[in-house]
Structure formats: structure tokens, C-alpha cells
């Protein structure tokens, strides 16, 4: 093992190198661009033995990754925001043809309004496309979850592509000390790519992704559902193996000081680090609060979340996406459905959109609200936690007609 200073982008690139990805087709987009550049550098220098394709769009990037993987090699791409939105159409082709592609997604809000900065709206918009989704808390997790994702996605019980999400700038551009495992250890863990389903090979021809009638479509969707169902169990096995091999414990849902907590906040991604800090700060003041960190959002970890939140009367859920038109954001909706047999008061918080920092103050405010609700001293909560006072009047124009 060797420690390296890496940011989320270079950590993801490092993971792709360690997993011996053989075809890279990637299109630059802020804040993922340094990852594209790093991959290009590694291929150019021979550090990474791969074909690098400088594509003309994310749509093509995803398309090439898909067919390359179906031709029998481990292939990789990465994107963010509008790039992920452009890939949308191909994402379901990848999952539908059971190509177990692993893709880092650098979370950034989708335009309009144009933003370059972090929120989960881009990957949340793709949550029903049949991909596994992991969310990273820090740079170490980016690297670790990438390696884990290859194993889970490529498992023959799963055969489902995976996104490893990392918060734009907060992780993608933040330099952290990362324990980079030895190549041999990763070889042993990830292993060479073995095609386990359909493939494109002239020695054994088959036609993939032809037109499918109503007589088989339902069954193929069901096959995907089974893959998703299996993914939870497989991920658990893989995480245990990962811990044994690399000495780092990752959990599908991590309960941080939840056991004796009066109130718990459910969160994803880099804000979990801040939330854990707040938990410690408030506990020092005698307030028993905890965080449930959802590492794997797809498939939604119903059992694991239920376990962590069992018996909790008041729960807060932080969505870093707006969930427009829904009853709440995607994490809140899923949490409510998971806890439907438990009479919890589940409060919905939206914040951290378009790069707005999820601050210590705001998380503390959430916990205090939840505690007051629990004690019966408060009824309403502040759903849009970091909203300005005058949201409807932030821009004024002089009308000329």
C-alpha cells in the first residue's frame, strides 16, 4: 500500500487503471475534465494499456463504452451533469443489454440555470435507468467504491452497470490522502474481465439488442429486476471481502452514532462528512443525534436502512436535488416507502443545490428542528433549508415594452 495525494477525479482514473480498463472513451465536462485528461495522460505514457478514444459527445462516449464492453473488454467512461443527461438514452441500452459498465459520475446540477457546481440532480434523474448507484463520501471512497463496483456489476448474478457518484468540486477537485492499493492486490480482487452473457464475437455469432415484442419484454425487465435484487446481497459479500483484503470497512448504509440517537439524518455523498462532524459537535453538547449514510442508492437498500432507522420516531432526509413535482426528493420518497411499516415522522429537507455548500450551521439547524419535533416543541420544519428570504425577487428587470 502506498499513500498518494489524489482528488476525486484522479482517484477514479487511478481505479480505472488498477481495474485494467482496456477501452476508454470519454468526453470532457466540468468538473470531470481532469479525469479525462488524467486518463489520456496515463494511456499516452503507457502507464495504462488501453485504447483511448477522444469522442465527440457523451452520447458517443457511452455508446462506444457499451459496444466495447459487449465485444469482451472492460471499458470505461465518465461524465457529469448535462453530459449524463445526454447519455440518458444509451444508459438504458447498457443496462438492458446487461453490459456491466462502471462509470464515475461527477455530480453537478443540470441546466437551466447553468451551474458548474455540485448537486445530485443529474444522477438522481437517471435513477430508474437500471444502473447501480454508489455515492462517495470522500476521495478514498471514490477509489474504493470503483473497485467494489466492478466486482458487483460484473457478478453473473447482477450483470448490471454501475455509477460511482462523487460530488463535483467537493470531491472531484479536493486533494486528499488516499491509500492506493498495490496492483497485485487489486488484480486479485477485481480480476480480469470475463464476459458472462451476450457478446459480439465472429467465432460465436449472436445478434444483440434486436427488436423484442410484448411476448418477451416483461421477462427481460424482470431479469433486470432480479439482477438489481441480487446486487444488494452481492454488494454485501463484496464489501466484506474488500474489508478483509484492504482493511477498510464500507457499508451499504452506514449508521453513524445512530444506535442511541434520538433523531437521525439520512444523507448521501460528501455532506455525510460534514454531518458526522456536526453529530460529534452536538453530542458534545449532550444532543443525541446520528447520521444514516446511504452509500448504495440503487438498488435502494431497504433492509439495511430499516435496520439503521429501526424505532426512530423522527427522521430527517436530506435531498441534494429538488425532486420537482414529486411529493419530495428521491431519497425522501424512498426512505418513506422503506419505513412504511414504522410510524416515523420523516421530514424532508432540500439543499446544497447548484454548488451551495451544505454547511455545519444548516445541518445543526436541521438536527435542532428534528429534536424539537421529537420533543413536541415544533410542528413545521424548514424544507428548503438554505433558501434565501426573498427567493421570488432575486432578479429584477427594467421592462421596456
Amino acid at each position: 500500500m502506498a499513500y498518494k495525494m489524489l482528488n476525486g477525479n484522479t482517484a477514479a482514473a487511478e481505479a480505472m487503471k488498477l481495474a485494467k480498463v482496456q477501452v476508454v472513451s470519454v468526453y470532457p465536462i466540468t468538473p470531470q475534465s481532469p479525469m479525462s485528461e488524467r486518463l489520456a495522460d496515463m494511456v499516452a505514457s503507457g502507464e495504462m494499456k488501453a485504447e483511448y478514444i477522444r469522442v465527440e459527445s457523451e452520447h458517443s462516449a457511452m455508446s462506444m463504452t457499451m459496444t466495447a464492453q459487449l465485444t469482451g473488454v472492460r471499458a470505461g467512461t465518465a461524465t457529469s451533469s448535462n453530459g449524463l443527461a445526454l447519455m440518458h438514452e444509451v444508459l438504458s441500452m447498457v443496462s438492458g443489454t446487461r453490459a456491466p459498465v462502471v462509470m464515475p459520475v461527477v455530480n453537478r446540477g443540470v441546466a437551466a440555470p447553468w451551474t458548474l457546481w455540485c448537486e445530485h440532480g443529474d444522477s438522481m434523474a437517471q435513477r430508474d435507468m437500471g444502473w447501480l448507484q454508489f455515492y462517495s463520501e470522500n476521495v478514498q471512497e471514490v477509489l474504493d467504491l470503483m473497485l467494489v463496483a466492478y466486482r458487483v456489476a460484473e457478478d453473473e448474478r447482477v450483470l448490471t452497470p454501475a455509477m460511482v457518484c462523487l460530488d463535483g468540486f467537493f470531491l472531484s477537485h479536493s486533494m486528499q490522502k488516499v491509500d492506493v492499493p498495490e496492483e497485485e492486490l487489486v488484480d486479485d480482487f477485481v480480476g480480469p474481465y470475463i464476459r458472462k452473457n451476450g457478446y459480439l464475437d465472429t467465432k460465436d455469432p449472436m445478434f444483440l439488442c434486436g427488436l423484442c415484442g410484448p411476448e418477451d419484454y416483461t421477462e427481460m425487465r424482470y431479469q433486470q429486476k432480479v439482477g438489481m435484487d441480487n446486487a444488494s446481497k452481492v454488494a454485501q459479500e463484496v464489501l466484506e471481502e474488500f474489508e478483509a483484503k484492504f482493511g477498510r470497512k464500507l457499508e451499504i448504509v452506514e449508521g453513524y452514532k445512530t444506535e442511541d440517537a434520538d433523531v437521525v439524518l439520512v444523507a448521501l455523498g460528501s455532506m455525510c462528512g460534514t454531518a458526522k462532524y456536526v453529530v460529534n459537535k452536538m453530542r458534545a453538547e449532550g444532543k443525541k443525534v446520528g447520521v444514516a449514510k446511504v452509500t448504495m442508492f440503487r438498488p435502494f437498500p431497504v433492509d439495511q436502512l430499516r435496520k439503521v432507522l429501526a424505532g426512530k420516531e423522527v427522521i430527517g432526509v436530506f435531498d441534494r436535488s429538488a425532486g420537482l413535482g414529486g411529493q419530495g426528493g428521491p431519497v425522501w420518497s424512498e426512505t418513506c416507502a422503506a419505513l412504511k411499516d414504522q410510524s416515523s415522522d420523516i421530514r424532508h429537507y432540500v439543499g446544497g443545490l447548484g454548488g451551495r455548500d451544505v454547511t455545519i450551521d444548516n445541518i445543526e439547524k436541521i438536527f435542532n428542528e428534528l429534536l424539537e419535533i421529537k420533543e413536541g416543541r415544533r410542528d413545521k420544519h424548514t424544507q428548503w433549508i438554505d433558501l434565501k428570504d426573498n427567493p421570488m425577487e432575486i432578479r429584477q428587470v427594467i421592462k421596456n415594452v
Partner: protein, 101 residues
């Protein structure tokens, strides 16, 4: 191809593949679409083979040594009439399907 067809004769081990994968090489009953069928006036035929070349379905066979030197596979012939239209000797007629003409 030959290899594949030979293998077809032997028993193949089958395994499940998930998702949309075509696994059998098949044909539709396109012969049933036919409204007209080609009929050759063999005496006029010069066995040039153009009818076979331009047949979209590739079901025309030239048998140079036989009297009935042009043979159609009516299992698949759609009756489009390109063979008749392109025949340099105009010795292919399109006749109504199931007629005795």
C-alpha cells in the same frame, strides 16, 4: 457457415443469456405474400443469370445443363417481378399466383 450448419446437426449445449439476444437463424414465410409468380419461357432463355443477380431474395438458380434452366424457390419468392423486368430477353412472365397459365 458450413461449420455452423454442421454443428446444427449435432446436439448443442444451450445456456441462458439475459436480455435481448437473437439465438436462432430463421426465415419468415415470405412466399405467402406472392400475388404473381415468375414463369420462364425456357426456349428463349440465354442463361445469362441476370435474374439471379437482381433477385432481392436470392432464390433464383441457373441450371445451365437442364432444360428448365431457371429454378425459383417459391417458399420465399415475394413475386416482386424484378427478374422479369430486368430479363434482357424478356422471357420471364409474371403470372397470377395459383393460375394455370
Amino acid at each position: 457457415m458450413q461449420k455452423q450448419q454442421e454443428k446444427h446437426m449435432s446436439k448443442l449445449k444451450k445456456y441462458s443469456v439475459l436480455g435481448p439476444v437473437a439465438t436462432t437463424f430463421t426465415a419468415s414465410d415470405t412466399g405467402s405474400w406472392r400475388l404473381e409468380r415468375p414463369k420462364v419461357v425456357f426456349e428463349d432463355c440465354i442463361k445469362c443469370g441476370i435474374c439471379a443477380q437482381v433477385c432481392p431474395v436470392d432464390i433464383v438458380e441457373i441450371r445451365k445443363d437442364e432444360k428448365e434452366c431457371v429454378v425459383f424457390n417459391f417458399d420465399y419468392c415475394k413475386g416482386c417481378g424484378i427478374c422479369a423486368n430486368e430479363c434482357p430477353k424478356k422471357c420471364i412472365m409474371m403470372v397470377p399466383e395459383r393460375s394455370e397459365v
